[in-house]
C-alpha cells in the first residue's frame, strides 16, 4: 500500500533523512519512532505529497507520489504535526470545506461529517469556533479532517500530542479500530504508543532507519540483555564496586530508598545466569536481600539504547 524506496531529503546542506526504505501492507499500522529531529515529519510530508524527496521513490496506494500527486492525495488522509486549522471557522464549516476539496460527493458530505464527528468525540462541537477550542479538541478536529474523505491511507504525525490521558486512550482505540480498512502510518516519540497501537515499528534516528520490526520482535531481538531488579537493605555504600569483576554486568543504578529498603537495577549483557553471583556477593557484603526479579526490556529501553548507540558512533 505504501512503499518508500531510498528516500533522501536535503535542506540545503543539511540532510533530514537519508536512504529511508520501507513498505507498509494493506490494513497495517506502522509506527514511526524517533527522537526530536529524527526525520519523522520529513518522511511523512514526502509521503503525503507536501514536498518532493531529493532522491528516491514513494508509491502510495499504487500511485507515484511525485508523478501522480493528485491520485495519491485523493486517497490519503494526512494529519500534520500542527493541525492545519482555520481558527475563524466553525468546526462544521471547516470539515465541510476539507471534505469538498478532498472530493467528497455533495450528497455524502453531511453523513461523513456526522460520522467523523462521532468518531472523534466532536458531536457537540460542530457549531463552535475552532479558535475557542482547547488544544486537545483542536487535535481532534485535525484528526477528523484527516478522516473526512474516508481515505485508504492515513498518515498521522503525532496524533495523540496535546491530548489528556483519557483522550489518548480513546484516540489509540480509534486508530486501532481504523486498521484493516485503512492503512496507517503514525509517528510518535511516546514509546508505549507504538507497542500499543502498531503492528510494526520503524525506529529512525538522525534521518536513518535504525531498526524495523514488530514490537515483540524488537523486544526479543535485544533479549541479549536483561534488567535485574534487586530489593535489598543495609549500607548502600557497600554496593559500590561490588560487582566489578562480573564481566556480564554493564552497570548498576541505585534507586531511592523506601522503608529502609533500596532498589538496585542491574543491567546484564547476554543471557547467562548471574543472579546467583549477585545474591552471593550481596549477602557476603552484609546486605539483606528481599527480592530479585528479571525484567524483559521494554521498547522504551530498546529505543534509548538504539539511539544512544547511534549518537555514540557519530
Amino acid at each position: 500500500m505504501i512503499k518508500a524506496e531510498h528516500l533522501t531529503k536535503r535542506f540545503g546542506l543539511a540532510t533530514a533523512i537519508e536512504d529511508v526504505s520501507f513498505e507498509v501492507g494493506k490494513g497495517e499500522i506502522l509506527g514511526f519512532l524517533g527522537p526530536n529531529g529524527a526525520g519523522k515529519t520529513t518522511t511523512m510530508r514526502i509521503l503525503a505529497g507536501f514536498f518532493p524527496a531529493t532522491q528516491g521513490i514513494a508509491v502510495v496506494a499504487g500511485y507515484d507520489v511525485f508523478k501522480q500527486p493528485l491520485d495519491v492525495k485523493r486517497r490519503v488522509g494526512y494529519l500534520p504535526e500542527n493541525p492545519p486549522l482555520y481558527s475563524e471557522m466553525k468546526v462544521d464549516s471547516y470539515l465541510r470545506f476539507v471534505a469538498t476539496i478532498n472530493g467528497v460527493a455533495k450528497s455524502k458530505i453531511e453523513t461523513q461529517l456526522e460520522k467523523v464527528k462521532q468518531r472523534c468525540g466532536l458531536a457537540d462541537h460542530g457549531k463552535r469556533l475552532i479558535k475557542h477550542l482547547s488544544k486537545g479538541y483542536k487535535q481532534r478536529v485535525g484528526l477528523a479532517q484527516a478522516l473526512i474523505h474516508d481515505p485508504e491511507v492515513l498518515i498521522l504525525d503525532e496524533p495523540t500530542i496535546g491530548l489528556d490521558p483519557k483522550q489518548i486512550i480513546e484516540v489509540r482505540e480509534l486508530i486501532k479500530s481504523l486498521a484493516g480498512r485503512h492503512t496507517i502510518i503514525l509517528s510518535t516519540h511516546i514509546l508505549p504508543e507504538v507497542s500499543m497501537t502498531c503492528q510494526r515499528v520503524i525506529i529512525i534516528n538522525e534521518g536513518r532507519i535504525v531498526a524495523m520490526d514488530t514490537p515483540e520482535n524488537l523486544t526479543s531481538r535485544l533479549q541479549g540483555g536483561e534488567l535485574i531488579e534487586v530489593e535489598a537493605a543495609g549500607d548502600v555504600e557497600r554496593v559500590h564496586g561490588l560487582f566489578k569483576d562480573i564481566p556480564q554486568i554493564r552497570n548498576v543504578s541505585v534507586g531511592p530508598p523506601s522503608n529502609g529498603h533500596f532498589i538496585l537495577t542491574i543491567n546484564v549483557e547476554g543471557k547467562e545466569e548471574v543472579r546467583h553471583l549477585i545474591s552471593r556477593r550481596m549477602i557476603e557484603a552484609g546486605l539483606n536481600l528481599y527480592q530479585m526479579k528479571v525484567q524483559t526490556m521494554t521498547l522504551e529501553e530498546i529505543f534509548l539504547k538504539l539511539t544512544t548507540r547511534e549518537e555514540g558512533a557519530a
Binding site: 535542506f11 503525503a48 507536501f50 494526512y78 475563524e88 470545506f97
Partner: protein, 262 residues
C-alpha cells in the same frame, strides 16, 4: 470548478470576518467620499469664478463638462486610494496560510495550484467590487442633478478601468504574499512595488528608445488614463489582462518552487 468555488467561498468567509477587511472598507468609503466632496466643491468654485471672469469681459462663459471633470478627477483619486489599500487586502492570502500551517492542508489536498490561486484571486476581486460598488452612489447623485444628463457609458468605462487596475495590483499582491510567511512583510513589499509601478514612467527619458518605450508601457497608470476619460481602448484592456496573467503565473511558479525549498 468545485474546488475553485470551495476556495472562493472559504476565502470570502475569511476576508469578511477579518477586522482588516472592515478597516479597509471604512477607510476607503471615508477617504473616497471626502475626496468626491472636495473634487465637487473645488470644481464648482472654479466654474463660478470662471463665469465671473467671462462676465466681466462681457462674453458668455464657454460650456464646462462638469460630470466629465468630476468623474475624471474621482477616478484619478481612486487609483491612489487603491495603491494604499490593496496591499492590505492581499497580504494575508498566502502568507497566513503558510504561517499557521494550513498551506500543509491545501498542499496535500487533491486541488491544483491553479484552482487555489484562481479561487483566491476571485475572492479579492469580489472584495474589490464590494469596495467600488457603493461609489456608484456618487455617480448616481451626479447623474440625478446633472442638467442636461450625461451619458453613462464613459462612467462605466471608468469603473472598468478601476476594476482592471485593481485586478492587476491584486495579482501583484498575491504574488508577493506567496513569497513570505509574514503578512506585514508582504504588505510593505507590495506597497513598494506599487510605488515603483506608479512612478516608473518618470524614469523614462524623453527620446523614444526601445527601453524608454518599454518603461512607459509598464506604467500601470498610463494605461488607466484613457479609461478615466471614458475611452475604451483594447490595447489597455490587453495590457491589464496580460499583467494579471503574469502576476498569477508568477504566483503559481512561486508556490511550485516553495515546494522544493521547504
Amino acid at each position: 470548478m468545485r474546488n475553485f468555488l470551495a476556495i472562493l467561498k472559504k476565502e470570502l468567509q475569511a476576508l469578511f470576518v477579518s477586522p482588516i477587511a472592515y478597516v479597509v472598507l471604512a477607510v476607503f468609503f471615508a477617504v473616497g467620499g471626502y475626496f468626491f466632496y472636495i473634487i465637487m466643491s473645488s470644481l464648482v468654485n472654479q466654474a463660478i469664478e470662471m463665469g465671473f471672469r467671462y462676465q466681466q469681459m462681457g462674453a458668455p462663459p464657454p460650456p464646462i463638462d462638469m460630470p466629465f471633470l468630476v468623474m475624471r478627477n474621482f477616478f484619478g483619486i481612486l487609483s491612489t486610494i487603491l495603491l494604499f489599500l490593496i496591499p492590505m487586502i492581499t497580504m494575508a492570502a498566502f502568507a497566513e496560510e503558510k504561517r499557521r500551517g494550513t498551506m500543509e492542508l491545501l498542499a496535500t489536498s487533491p486541488i491544483t495550484n491553479t484552482q487555489l490561486i484562481l479561487g483566491k484571486f476571485a475572492a479579492v476581486l469580489v472584495f474589490l467590487l464590494v469596495m467600488l460598488a457603493p461609489t456608484l452612489l456618487n455617480t448616481l447623485l451626479l447623474y440625478l442633478y446633472s442638467e442636461p444628463s450625461f451619458p453613462l457609458a464613459p462612467v462605466l468605462v471608468g469603473y472598468l478601468g478601476a476594476f482592471l487596475l485593481g485586478g492587476a495590483l491584486l495579482s501583484v499582491g498575491l504574488f508577493v504574499s506567496s513569497l513570505t510567511e509574514n503578512q506585514i512583510v508582504a504588505a510593505v513589499v507590495t506597497f513598494g512595488i506599487f510605488i515603483v509601478l506608479w512612478v516608473i514612467d518618470a524614469t523614462a527619458g524623453m527620446e523614444s528608445s526601445l527601453t524608454n518605450e518599454t518603461i512607459k508601457y509598464l506604467s500601470v497608470l498610463n494605461h488607466y488614463e484613457d479609461f478615466t476619460k471614458g475611452v475604451l481602448d483594447t490595447q489597455h484592456l490587453v495590457f491589464y489582462l496580460s499583467f494579471i496573467f503574469l502576476g498569477l503565473f508568477l504566483t503559481s511558479t512561486s508556490l511550485d518552487s516553495a515546494k522544493w525549498r521547504q
